[in-house]
Structure formats: structure tokens, C-alpha cells
């Protein structure tokens, strides 16, 4: 299914989510998965549609060649004009498609983290109770997430460096598991994008962008005292309530790309809490 067909098959609610780049819902887990799965499928196809831009760019040298052939009268004028118009049309179509696909591109965290997480833990969530999920689907380096931008400065061979800091709180949620445990999580990225420009020995200007990212994952689980005894583990803090132990854990993951955190750190955090919980016999 192409990206256009995939987009057309979405419901009005799903198209609205794409338009607003935001999701904030309370739904049972099965409904949530049914809502997000087509969005993730469409987004994956969008990710593959970068070739529209390549095809559009390919028409430019072809136009130049056609123009030269037309000028040198190698091609009959009528044929050359036809080819020229066809290439112009193809170029406009490719760039329009590329621009449209970019406009519906969603944060990769939907398909790399949120949906897989719900799928893996689908049978752990209480099916009758809603899961609250909040997603910010703007790109990690979208201007809405820009916190600060430095003035240009020099360092070493680079005569112009600009640092942009982004804060991307892209996923949070809470739900009740089938054993009564309340699970809460949040994932946020702090991103530094450094654009550097220098002039090399041959006088050419060279630019590059480097990214540093710290992902902070916070997980807390309120486990019923009548079901579990909690010993705690490394990096875990425990708060004792009247009916439940609340175990919290924080994980930090460093990265050098905008690719969002995958599922494994979250699963490791949650299972480390459960791994240190001892189930109690019902009295």
C-alpha cells in the first residue's frame, strides 16, 4: 500500500492526530493499539517516501541536458518541448509529493517505542481500564521544542558554531495493570544540535551538524501491599503508602542521533522493579 492509499485509509480522528501532531487519550489498551497501528504504518511509508525528493532532483540535470540538446537542435523542437514539459511536470509532482509526505511525518517514537510497548504489555494492562497516553508527535528538533539558540562563536578550526537546545517531552502515560499495579512513565529528550562551519585549506566552506542527546526515562509503579513485598534494587526509590509501595526508577540513555529511545530500556526498567518484588500469598 502506498503512502497516499495508507493516508486515505485513516479515520478522521487519525488524520486529526497527524494534523495536530499530538495525542492525548484515555482508552483501553486494545482500542489504543487499534488507533495507533494504522498511524504507525502510514508513518513508516512516509519514511520511505524520501525517494520522491531524489526523483525530483534527478529531473533537474535531465532538464539541463534536454535544454542543451534542444539548443543544439539535436532533438526535433516539438519532441524536445514535449520532453521538457513532461520533465517540468514530473519535477513539480515529485517535489509536491515530497513536501506533502514531510508534512505528515510523525515523531519516530510512535512506531519505535509507544506502539511496541503497548503491544508487548497488552496482556499486562487491565483490559477494562483505560490507559492514558500522551504523545508529542512533532519532530524532536521542531521549532516548537527549541529552548535556546546560542549566538555564533568560534572554536578551533570552526569560525562559526551555533548551538541549539531542544527539549522534547514526547511520551508519557499511565495505566493500571491486571494485578492492580499502577504504572506511570515519561520519556523526554534533551538535545543539543551543534552546527559548525569552517573553511578548509582549499578555501571551500564545510559545514556539519553534530547532535548530542540525553534521554531521561522515569518509571514508577505502585504495587499493592497485599500482593507484593518490595525489597527495591539498584537505582530504585521506594515510597510507602497506606495500601501500596511506589517504586520509582530513572534511566538516562545517551545518544548522538535524533532516533528516539527503543523499547528495551523501558522493559528493563519495568522488569527490574518486578524482579525485585516478591509476590505474597493471599491471606
Amino acid at each position: 500500500m502506498g503512502v497516499i492509499a495508507a493516508y486515505r485509509s485513516l479515520t478522521a480522528e487519525q488524520k486529526q492526530i497527524i494534523k495536530e501532531r499530538a495525542l492525548n487519550v484515555n482508552r483501553p489498551v486494545d482500542e489504543l493499539i487499534a488507533l495507533l497501528r494504522p498511524l504507525a504504518a502510514c508513518d513508516r511509508l512516509v519514511g520511505k517516501s524520501g525517494s520522491f525528493g531524489c526523483y525530483g532532483a534527478l529531473t533537474i540535470p535531465l532538464l539541463i541536458v534536454t535544454g542543451i540538446l534542444m539548443g543544439n537542435r539535436v532533438l526535433p523542437p516539438a519532441l524536445a518541448a514535449l520532453v521538457f514539459i513532461a520533465l517540468i511536470g514530473a519535477m513539480i509532482l515529485c517535489f509536491t509529493m515530497w513536501g506533502w509526505a514531510k508534512s505528515i511525518d510523525l515523531h519516530d517514537g510512535l512506531s519505535s517505542f509507544a506502539l511496541p510497548m503497548l503491544t508487548v504489555f497488552r496482556d499486562d494492562f487491565d483490559r477494562a481500564k483505560p490507559v492514558h497516553l500522551q504523545l508529542d508527535l512533532h519532530a524532536p528538533d521542531d521549532k516548537t521544542k527549541l529552548v535556546s539558540k546560542s549566538d555564533p562563536y568560534k572554536k578551533g578550526a570552526y569560525h562559526k558554531i551555533i548551538d541549539s537546545i531542544f527539549k522534547d517531552e514526547w511520551c508519557s502515560g499511565e495505566g493500571v495493570l491486571s494485578d492492580g499495579t499502577k504504572l506511570r512513565w515519561s520519556v523526554r529528550d534533551a538535545i543539543r544540535k551543534r552546527a559548525k562551519t569552517k573553511r578548509n585549506a582549499r578555501g571551500k566552506y564545510k559545514s556539519k551538524t553534530k547532535i548530542k542527546k540525553i534521554t531521561t526515562l522515569d518509571v514508577s509503579m505502585s504495587m499493592k501491599k497485599k500482593r507484593y513485598d518490595v525489597a527495591g534494587g539498584e537505582g530504585q526509590t521506594i515510597e510507602e503508602g497506606e495500601n501500596a509501595h511506589t517504586v520509582s526508577i530513572r534511566r538516562r540513555v545517551r545518544g548522538e542521533t535524533l532516533t528516539p529511545m527503543q523499547l528495551d530500556p523501558f522493559v528493563e526498567a519495568v522488569t527490574s522493579i518486578y524482579g525485585n518484588a516478591k509476590p505474597l500469598k493471599e491471606k
Binding site: 512506531s111 495505566g175 491486571s178 524482579g275
Partner: protein
């Protein structure tokens, strides 16, 4: 026929409990449609299907395809074997099929009565935004 013998869940495991409509051709356990692998023509249960993949040393769970019903079971099996995590079993069947997953129960013997899932009236209380 009996109820489905599959165990649901990742953090904790519980019996599926749905009516079974077919036996798995590998383990001969009764299975509901949800726990039969479509890739096997609904002949093999998801556990046997993913076990066979694991024994072929194909690490497929890294390729996220959550639309594939077997993917979550693949991920579960791979994660349990690589991390050593032991899920807690809330159920009442004495089935040694899952012995290799080394699930935890309340003690060495299965609690025949199972655990009451009644929350005692606690409500999540989430409101739609």
C-alpha cells in the same frame, strides 16, 4: 473442548481462559484462535512457533513488527532468555510447558486457588481530555 492453555502477559503471566477450538500440532495443548500462529496456518500455537524460530537462532524480535501477532511472543521469549527475568504466574494450572521460562509463583508448588483479581473497589478515575 478445554480452555486455551496459553499464558498471557509479559510482566506477570496468567491463563488465557478463552474457549479453545484446536490443539497445537506440536505441543498438543488446546488453543484459542488468538494464540494460534497465522504463519503456521493456525496449526501451531504462538509459543511453539516462536520457540522453533529461537532454536533456529533467528533473532527476529529486534525487527519491530507489532502488527505480526507472533512478534510480542517472540520478544517475550527472547527477552526472558537474554535477561533472566522470571515472570510471576497468576494462575491455577500445573503445566510444565513453561518450565523453560522459569516463571515464579508463590512458592515451589502452584497455588491451586489462584489469585483473586478483584481490586476491592479501587478505580483508575481517568477522564478523557
Amino acid at each position: 473442548m478445554d480452555t486455551c492453555a496459553a499464558r498471557r502477559g509479559f510482566l506477570t503471566m496468567r491463563d488465557c481462559g478463552e474457549p479453545a477450538n484446536q490443539l497445537c500440532i506440536t505441543c498438543q495443548r488446546p488453543m484459542c484462535t488468538e494464540h494460534l500462529s497465522s504463519s503456521s496456518g493456525y496449526q501451531q500455537c504462538l509459543d511453539c512457533f516462536t520457540k522453533a524460530e529461537q532454536s533456529n537462532t533467528v533473532e527476529q524480535s529486534k525487527n519491530v513488527d507489532e502488527s505480526d501477532p507472533a512478534w510480542a511472543y517472540r520478544y517475550r521469549r527472547d527477552y526472558y532468555s537474554s535477561s533472566g527475568y522470571h515472570a510471576i504466574y497468576y494462575g491455577s494450572t500445573n503445566d510444565n510447558y513453561y518450565d523453560d521460562l522459569d516463571v515464579r509463583s508463590f512458592d515451589d508448588d502452584v497455588n491451586a486457588g489462584g489469585l483473586d483479581d478483584d481490586d476491592g473497589g479501587e478505580r483508575a478515575g481517568f477522564a478523557d481530555s
